[in-house]
């Protein structure tokens, strides 16, 4: 007893009774990588092992530079396709699928109680399904491909309790930015985060994914939500295998407990150049923008596109507006429900599912002095490819509204 969720996962995996502070060497259930699989395959070959130990645990999803913007990216993709064939990797998703975290979840790899790692910092996203999922480095992925296992330190857990009914125009993104602003970008460094409270209980899986995704921006190793009927409904007919839901004991020891009331949250904006540079929208209202970006692994799901379409319906955008559905499935549902037509009519550009401009590798690059208001998860200097440009972060609602007015605008004022 008295164990946290992460202590239980690592105890199960290691076959020992481990607590926070222990170091264990264990076998993850899945290891995800994306366009960086090309570089990882190079490292893997240097180890001197010819075959991946557990190819069925390997998932590769191409999303960062899709379709290839330049010859070097095309060569990367080609090397990955060749490697996938050579190693007989079945869980391979080529450039026509979407963003890795969305695809991984849609395809049912993200399941309660599983230990999942990925060579991408936002691998924390699968915590929304009750998994222990953490970002790791490329060499670590190569090591798992070769040996099936990796070293982990068992982290302490911070509990974040969120209660209250979400006010109008407040989304999970506003809550995430608010919490990060309060606890700081290292508020959960090297810790597990466990979300709870009645607001979380009422959230759908896609809504919880926003919080678990943004847990990376608190420095967290994972962002776990205890699985419940919403989780089980989402996984029905989707889960790749059987799973066992794990929960922290009632008397588990948390290193810290933060309590928030969602009624205190106003539409939130992160100012340049850090995610914890929180502003209430009132303080940044009137900030002129040159580009609006709605999408990414944080806010590219159907709910996000619908929220944007509701704001933009029948109106025209004043600035360059880029929309990126998180996956082909999301894209198709957005077409069927008329969301895409609404967005196109307003003058927005629909980009193909993928990471797009978020990390400056592809599309939507800014010129010096320009400003993007984005639903992504990072606003670091140079992040979108230009070190003399600025990025503000907000929710799909506030970004869609700013696309229409050309400046950051409080949605509560417009209503």
């Amino acid at each position: 007893m008295r164990k946290t969720f992460v202590e239980k996962v690592f105890s199960n995996k290691s076959g020992k009774d481990v607590r926070a502070g222990a170091i264990v060497s264990v076998e993850p259930d899945y290891v995800m990588s994306h366009d960086n699989a090309a570089a990882i395959s190079g490292t893997f070959k240097k180890i001197g092992v010819s075959r991946i130990k557990y190819p069925e645990r390997v998932v590769i999803i191409l999303d960062h530079e899709v379709p290839a913007p330049k010859e070097s990216s095309a060569i990367n993709h080609k090397e990955i396709r060749n490697f996938v064939k050579e190693q007989n990797i079945q869980n391979f998703f080529d450039i026509n699928h979407g963003i890795c975290h969305q695809i991984f979840t849609e395809q049912g790899f993200a399941m309660p109680g599983k230990l999942i790692v990925g060579s991408d910092s936002h691998t924390t996203t699968y915590g929304a399904l009750g998994a222990l999922s953490a970002g790791i480095g490329r060499s670590e992925v190569a090591a798992i491909w070769a040996t099936g296992e990796l070293w982990f330190s068992v982290p302490e857990t911070i509990k974040i309790v969120i209660n209250g009914i979400m006010p109008k125009y407040i989304t999970p993104k506003d809550i995430a930015l608010y919490i990060i602003g309060k606890i700081g970008s290292d508020g959960a460094d090297y810790k597990a985060v466990e979300f709870s409270g009645d607001t979380i209980n009422r959230m759908t899986v896609p809504e919880r994914m926003v919080l678990s995704n943004m847990a990376a921006e608190m420095g967290a190793k994972c962002g776990y939500t205890p699985p419940d009927h919403n989780t089980f409904d989402y996984l029905r007919g989707r889960a790749k295998s059987e799973y066992e839901s794990l929960y922290s004991d009632e008397d588990a020891v948390f290193s810290n407990i933060f309590k928030f009331n969602v009624e205190d949250v106003s539409p939130s904006v992160a100012k340049p150049h850090t995610v914890d540079n929180l502003a209430s929208i009132k303080d940044v209202e009137g900030t002129k923008i040159d580009q609006a970006l709605i999408g990414t692994c944080t806010n590219g799901r159907l709910e996000d596109l619908r929220a944007a379409a509701e704001v933009m319906e029948g109106k025209k955008v004043k600035v360059r507006t880029l929309i990126i559905p998180a996956s082909r499935t999301v894209y198709k549902e957005a077409i069927k429900s008329g969301i895409i037509e609404t967005l196109v009519d307003s003058g927005a550009i629909i980009l193909n599912p993928g990471c797009g401009p978020c990390l400056g590798a592809h599309q939507g690059v800014m010129a010096p002095g320009e400003v993007t208001f984005s639903t992504a998860n990072r606003n670091f200097k140079g992040r979108m490819g230009c070190r003399d440009a600025e990025i503000y972060l907000g929710s799909p609602v506030t970004v869609a509204l700013a696309a229409l007015t050309g400046e950051i605008t409080d949605p509560r004022r417009e209503s």
């Binding site: 240097k46 060579s119 420095g219 850090t274 400056g360 670091f380 140079g382």
Partner: protein
């Protein structure tokens, strides 16, 4: 990794993120470590790569390396000549990437406060000591798993030796 590092300090502030250490636009370009090193700290201090020398020591504030999981952010700094980083704290993935690249990431807040840019500093890994012009500071020794990876020069070499 031998037991002691001695070098000149380059000092930076808090929350240095991976985008300013190694810009995202290079992340999916295939590069050898020596090429990565040419972009180390490019969007934080464009002069860094021209002024750093082999064996220098990087000192930083809290949450060094926050952000992306990109391993190049550790490898670029290592191949630019830095043997060891001392910080108030490290972001989780950066800490792992540094260790796995065979570059010690040392958490020593008191030493960070005492050290100035340009200082000559000695880091004694075996005894957990940092010797600065303002005196000696201690840091907790690494767990055996981590120490073994560092001794082999990083995770990949460690696995090669144990497979």
């Amino acid at each position: 990794m031998n037991g002691k590092f001695e070098g000149k300090v380059w000092k930076y502030g808090d929350n240095i993120n991976t985008d300013v250490i190694f810009p995202g636009k290079y992340t999916y370009q295939k590069m050898e470590p020596e090429e990565m090193a040419k972009h180390a700290l490019e969007d934080l201090d464009p002069e860094f790569v021209s002024k750093v020398s082999e064996g220098d020591i990087l000192v930083a504030g809290k949450n060094f390396g926050m952000g992306s999981s990109r391993e190049q952010a550790a490898i670029a700094i290592k191949y630019a000549g830095i043997n060891v980083i001392i910080a108030r704290s490290f972001s989780r993935i950066y800490f792992r990437n540094a260790i796995n690249a065979g570059m010690p990431a040392i958490i020593a807040p008191d030493a960070v406060d005492a050290i100035k840019e340009g200082d000559k500093v000695i880091v004694d890994m075996e005894n957990g000591k940092i010797i600065t012009p303002k005196g000696e500071f201690t840091f907790p020794s690494y767990p055996a798993t981590v120490m073994n990876i560092l001794k082999k020069g990083g995770l990949i070499n460690f696995i090669k030796a144990n497979i």
